[in-house]
């Protein structure tokens, strides 16, 4: 068994989308993702997963020179693209992981990146 990260990505301004998405759409997405989660648990695939609030609420902590750290407001990457949530799944191989990724992309109606964890 191998573990994979399935991360959900957003292109447009996620913060706006977060606040302006109509409730019926949010409801639909919740239902779809909830059903997928349930199936992942049933098949023994689900390890962990969850949605993230927009990256504007993120904080970066960096090691300093004096053994202490510095703290800055905002996300690490200044990219337009933002990770909006993720799953960690356990699957026997790439084809199986890819099938779960396909279902994840359809469930959250957005791009999902599949990336394997290092062994051990």
């Amino acid at each position: 068994m191998a573990q994979y990260l399935l991360s959900v990505w957003h292109d447009e301004d996620y913060i706006d989308a977060f606040e302006t998405t109509p409730p019926e759409v949010i409801e639909r997405l919740h239902a779809q993702v909830g059903a997928l989660n349930a199936d992942m648990e049933k098949k023994g695939v689900w390890v962990f997963g969850g949605g993230l609030v927009p990256a504007s609420s993120a904080t970066v902590v960096r090691p300093g020179t004096d053994g202490d750290v510095s703290i800055t407001d905002g996300p690490y990457a200044e990219a337009k693209e933002m990770m909006g949530g993720f799953w960690v799944i356990e699957a026997p191989d790439l084809d199986s992981a890819l099938e779960w990724t396909r279902r994840a992309a359809l469930a959250c109606e957005g791009a999902v990146e599949l990336r394997p964890f290092q062994d051990e």
Partner: protein, 450 residues
């Protein structure tokens, strides 16, 4: 290191007593290396290990065969020797990096992933039997691995040529006109991605084929097209690419006899390749279909192509390769250019266009219409396009070349010269440039184009 065996097999092919033999090794290498590698990946459970082992086995062949003669079944000899070599190496390395070697292994012998901790001792025991069963399916497994949809098309093609075609990285780089370092990196990355992602060495089940078969077909088709295109001086490698694509096409069609597109692609390649020696004249200039000496068409290729296509010709819902093969078959059946069933050609292009709009098909259909109904309606078809399409086609050389030809035939030489100028400016191939330049000249001097 995996390149060394093949390099040895090639570099020794200069004159001398060893020349004949090393040619024998090279010919076996060409024929068998993909099959041996495919089997060894299954047996050893790792791509790099298999490649190295096969290369080493060919090195051994270079020293043994002069002494002992070429074995009756050289492919089996190479496979067995490669397996033994890999085993020796695993034993050697196991004393030092047991865990590393076990972790190195990507696929289990049962086709599962090797992620579960199998010790080298057990691995060596597993591989210890003398017999290596060569399974025809191995090449199919390897095709699906090389053309896994998680890889970019460029990488799929490179990996297919490297692992199944036995081509070396510099050869692949030359054929695709990219720097060797770029190609080497592309291949290393693709292999690493498959390993990191725990790609399994297996043939997709029926339900997966709609996703998995098209990239395999596309990669083989790309290899063929690259080989068939008369671009520059590197002619030899290109002919090898065409032949390799046809070989892979045969393997695929034979191992997947229920797939009409596999048969369609093979038929298309055979029927197109049949015209190879008639496509270029003595100076290397492109000869259009109309001017080709049909006696030089390869009748064996044509017969095989038509034969591959026949069982499917009445089945509904043809895919793009089958339609294109049917198009090539119409040309192959026509005794002369004038005999061509242009109405059938236009119909087939309409079927293609109904599937997907494609500027290439728009141009080809217009050319066929020109043969069926004359240049005027054909020009109308070429120019009856949206502004978006026009913008797209403005940088598409065949559109200008076809327009130029039709304008010349319609008795509009000055417009034709203008269109030829535009086509020539967009041409990358010497042979095509010479052809178009001659046509333009004929237009200027008022001769009828050939």
């Amino acid at each position: 290191m995996s390149e060394s065996g093949a390099r040895a097999a090639r570099s020794a092919s200069s004159a001398g007593p060893a020349a004949e033999l090393s040619n024998a090794v090279e010919s076996v290498f060409r024929r068998e290396s993909g099959r041996c590698t495919a089997t060894l990946i299954r047996v050893l459970g790792d791509v790099d290990l298999a490649e190295d082992a096969v290369a080493e086995a060919f090195e051994v062949a270079l020293t043994r065969w002069p002494r002992d003669g070429v074995p009756d079944n050289p492919g089996a000899w190479i496979t067995t020797t490669a397996r033994r070599r890999a085993l020796d190496r695993l034993r050697r390395e196991s004393t030092r990096h047991d865990r590393h070697v076990a972790a190195h292994r990507t696929f289990g012998t049962d086709g599962s992933t090797g992620a579960d901790p199998s010790t080298v001792g057990r691995l060596v025991e597993e591989l210890g039997g003398e017999q290596v069963e060569v399974v025809a399916d191995d090449q199919l497994r390897l095709m699906f691995l090389c053309c896994h949809p998680v890889l970019a098309p460029d990488s799929q093609v490179a990996l297919t040529l490297r692992l199944l075609g036995g081509l070396q990285t510099p050869e692949i780089a030359r054929a695709f006109l990219v720097p060797e370092a770029t190609m080497a990196q592309r291949i290393v990355r693709a292999k690493r991605k498959l390993r990191d992602n725990h790609a399994r060495y297996r043939i997709p089940v029926e339900a997966e084929l709609p996703d998995r078969l098209p990239p395999v077909l596309a990669a083989i088709s790309l290899i063929f097209t690259e080989g068939h295109r008369a671009t520059d001086g590197s002619g030899l490698v290109r002919v090898e690419l065409s032949n390799e694509a046809i070989r892979l096409g045969r393997v695929l069609a034979d191992l997947m006899p229920d797939e009409p597109e596999a048969a369609g692609l093979l038929a298309l390649m055979l029927l197109t390749d049949a015209r190879r020696s008639a496509r270029l004249d003595a100076t290397g200039a492109l000869v259009p279909l109309a001017g080709q000496d049909r006696d030089r068409w390869d009748q064996d290729r044509i017969a095989e192509g038509l034969d591959r296509l026949a069982p499917w010709s009445r089945r509904a819902d043809p895919g793009r390769f089958r339609i294109q093969a049917e198009l090539a078959a119409v040309h192959a059946r026509a005794a002369t250019f004038a005999d061509t069933d242009w109405a059938r050609i236009v119909d087939l292009y309409d079927v293609l266009l109904a599937r997907r709009s494609d500027p290439v098909v728009v141009v080809n259909r217009a050319v066929a219409l020109g043969e069926l109904d004359g240049p005027a309606p054909a020009l109308l078809a070429l120019d009856d396009i949206s502004d978006d399409e026009r913008q797209q086609l403005d940088s598409y050389q065949p559109w200008h070349a076809a327009r130029a030809d039709l304008l010349a035939r319609a008795g509009r030489p000055s417009e034709a010269v203008e269109a030829y100028d535009r086509a020539i400016a967009l041409t990358a191939s010497d042979a095509e440039r010479r052809f178009l330049t001659a046509r333009r000249q004929a237009c200027r001097t008022g001769q009828t184009p050939p």
